[in-house]
């Protein structure tokens, strides 16, 4: 399995997803050889206890001096015309280097299936297939269209995605929403794509503390945005909805947790709209801090312009806040007990936010039901689907499925 990042050295959902998926697969007795491109970082010390028993994941670190990757921005996928040149010279080089290393690994190791996550690993997967002739499954967590919100798609990245998907034996998409994008923008036939929704495992979210309870005195309500402050995540719609809400009900505090290229712009926008005193930019949060923010919130809002899946609403529900999510997301396909809006409809967004902050019973019912619902949106369910897909691919390639190593 070819990945690019793994917790705790991840800056986005890709690492979290890989972690959840590999652990669940290992629990189902799939032996995984997990490859990361860079040497430093993850090691056995990060493994949770659950993991240790199933010790079937070996970590192979490929040597590479990947400067952009070392910083958290290295995984930022937003594209400005200016930045793409830098990536053109360094990130793409690293991706190609990864692919060559992958070739060597594939020659030496035994496995039945190749599973590669997102475009950064696709070339590695393609090379591995070339030398081993084993089935290649590409896992699409996000397409270039999602990352750029449809504006300024990087041609080289697009070409890699397309070429790899054409060469692959099977493709896993994290939602029907993403599958549609793949069919529409990359010309891949729908029957080549299997949808496996991401999940969340409750055991990873125990012991959440009420750190931010001070903010809630005076009956103040808290509405939370947590994500990269970038075009894909729709922060401007959040700010606009906030303005609309505050006109009606001033005793609401809007928290923006995250960082990104639009951060400064959003601060200026809040100031311009005269709501700076009610919008707090609290920076990038992770782990316990992020969970505490979810816990303190009365409502979590994910106004994404284009979200292939969206694990954050699930985290929010586990931690204690019900969610309002964009209909233009993959997670909207699996969550019934959530408020849903079109990302651009800030009136509707404000109306729903006000509904939740004004009526405790709405918050209770929404959260109670979603908390129950989330139990079936887990990584074990996802891993089962992946395993079925592996078997399907292995059969299609004409190899009997005796071994179970990937």
């Amino acid at each position: 399995m070819f990945g690019w990042e793994f917790p705790p050295h991840n800056s986005g959902g890709l690492g979290t997803a890989c972690f959840g998926l590999t652990r669940a697969l290992a629990n189902r007795n799939i032996e995984i050889l997990f490859v990361l491109p860079k040497k430093v970082g993850v090691s056995a010390s990060f493994m949770p206890i659950l993991f240790a028993d199933t010790r079937k994941i070996k970590f192979h670190e490929v040597e590479s001096n990947l400067k952009p990757y070392v910083t958290s921005e290295g995984y930022v996928r937003e594209r400005d015309k200016i930045i793409s040149d830098i990536y053109g010279n360094t990130l793409l080089q690293e991706v190609r280097r990864y692919a060559l290393r992958a070739r060597e690994i594939a020659k030496k190791e035994r496995f039945d299936v190749i599973h590669a996550h997102d475009w950064l690993s696709f070339l590695a997967g393609v090379e591995a297939k070339k030398v081993s002739d084993k089935p290649l499954i590409l896992h699409m967590h996000a397409t270039e269209f999602d990352r750029t919100g449809g504006q300024g798609v990087n041609q080289e990245v697009y070409d890699i995605e397309r070429m790899a998907m054409e060469r692959a034996d099977g493709i896993i998409a994290v939602s029907n929403f993403t599958k549609q994008k793949i069919v529409q923008h990359y010309g891949i036939p729908a029957d080549k794509i299997q949808v496996v929704h991401n999940g969340i495992d409750e055991c990873d979210y125990e012991n959440i503390f009420d750190k931010l309870s001070d903010l809630k005195k005076n009956g103040q309500k808290i509405v939370l945005f947590a994500g990269r402050i970038t075009i894909q995540k729709g922060p401007e719609y959040f700010i606009r909805a906030a303005k609309r809400v505050l006109e009606h009900q001033p005793n609401v505090l809007f928290l923006v947790a995250g960082s990104g290229d639009m951060e400064r712009q959003m601060m200026l926008e809040a100031a311009h709209l005269g709501i700076s005193d009610r919008v707090m930019f609290i920076g990038f949060l992770r782990g316990d801090d992020l969970n505490a923010a979810y816990r303190a919130a009365d409502l979590f809002v994910m106004p994404s312009v284009s979200e292939p899946f969206g694990i954050t609403p699930l985290e929010s529900i586990i931690a204690g806040a019900p969610v309002l999510i964009s209909k233009q997301s993959g997670v909207a396909e699996v969550l019934t007990h959530a408020l849903k809006v079109d990302f651009w409809d800030t009136e509707d967004m404000a109306n729903k936010i006000l509904g939740v902050v004004s009526h405790r019973s709405l918050k209770e019912t929404l959260w109670g039901n979603s908390r129950e619902e989330i139990r079936k949106i887990n990584w074990d369910a996802a891993s089962k689907k992946c395993i079925d897909y592996y078997e399907k691919m292995i059969c299609a390639c004409g190899v009997p499925p005796e071994t179970r190593i990937i």
């Binding site: 019934t336 007990h337 009136e347 109306n351 009526h359 019973s361 019912t365 619902e373």
Partner: protein, 411 residues
Amino acid sequence: MASICFYFQVHQPYRVKDYRVFDVGRDSEYFNDNSERSINNKKILHKVAGKCYIPANAVMLELLNKHPEFKISFSFSGVFLDQLEEFSPETLESFQKLVATGRAEVLEETYYHSLSFLYSPEEFRRQVKMHREKVQKLFGVTPTIFRNTELIYNNALAHEVEKMGYKGIIAEGADHVLGWKSPNFLYRPQGTENIKLMLKNYRLSDDIAFRFSSKEWADFPLTAPKFANWASQVNGNGHVINLFMDYETFGEHQWEDTGIFNFLRHLPEEIYKHPDNDFITPSEAIARYEPVAELDVHHFMSWADVERDLSAWLSNPMQHDAIQSVYKLEEDVLSTNDEKIISDWRKLQTSDHFYYMCTKWFNDGDVHKYFNPYNTPYEAFIAYMNALQDLRLRVVGHPTYAKKIQIKEII
């Protein structure tokens, strides 16, 4: 001898439109959606009239004319009758024709199809009186048999309805209440002396209302002769076969192409092939048969969902919040003496509003979702509470309210 007693519920609520918090204080029309969505009351009424009321009434009239002993009964909610007058007078006429035959009985219920008995017995009495007056005005008859909203029933209700002078009351033949007893007899509600209870035979009723077009059903297809056979098997085992259902069964829940109208058309003649069976109205049943036992129903039951209890309307915090909020306004609303405010308040009491907010089983896309004109129960709640907030503002802004506050302060 077993008599078939048909009872049809005929009801349409005034659905609340997609009322936003920003409309509060600006728009005092809550029920006038005119989009293509199914919260458009006028559109829905026309649709159901076309698919159900008009064709079903035509079949019923045909049967009433053809079979001089054929009998049926209805109850029309007041809000339904209002909408007929407003949107489809010709449909009202078709119902009037049926009642005019003298063999289509009209039952009593709360005008606003509300859960008022649970929250305000006085409001309940008022709404029943309003309903009686409306039925007298439109149909020239005075009901003597009562049915509460969605057949919600318990001992206390029977006691109250007996006090109000009704001779009979109908309810669901729920298993958890009947136990081994049969719904095919009349019962005496516990604590009463002069009122008789008729219970729905849910198996036979639901065979028509729900299972009729279900191909997975072991007894599909249901034909008139087959059903007549089942009915005749009650002979010797019961006095009545109470077939209680929503009138929308005919054409709206069961579409015309399932053959439901043909089934109905041939049913009387098939029933009559069994000389021990006949048709009866609830009043006739009450007059003809004596109760065989007392029935103790302490907790409320209804005909809704599998549980047959109040959970369809009152199972989550939102529903409780909404219903308590509307009844809290009673005193203030009534004291305004403002017809429009009071009428709007009452329209907001219709049980359907709370039904739309139900979240049990929402995951399984079940019957609640089918009937829900909103995208989610949460949106139903938000629209409702916003409308209620506007109503509250109208009450508070009303001159009589200001006077009341002054008086309170003086005292």
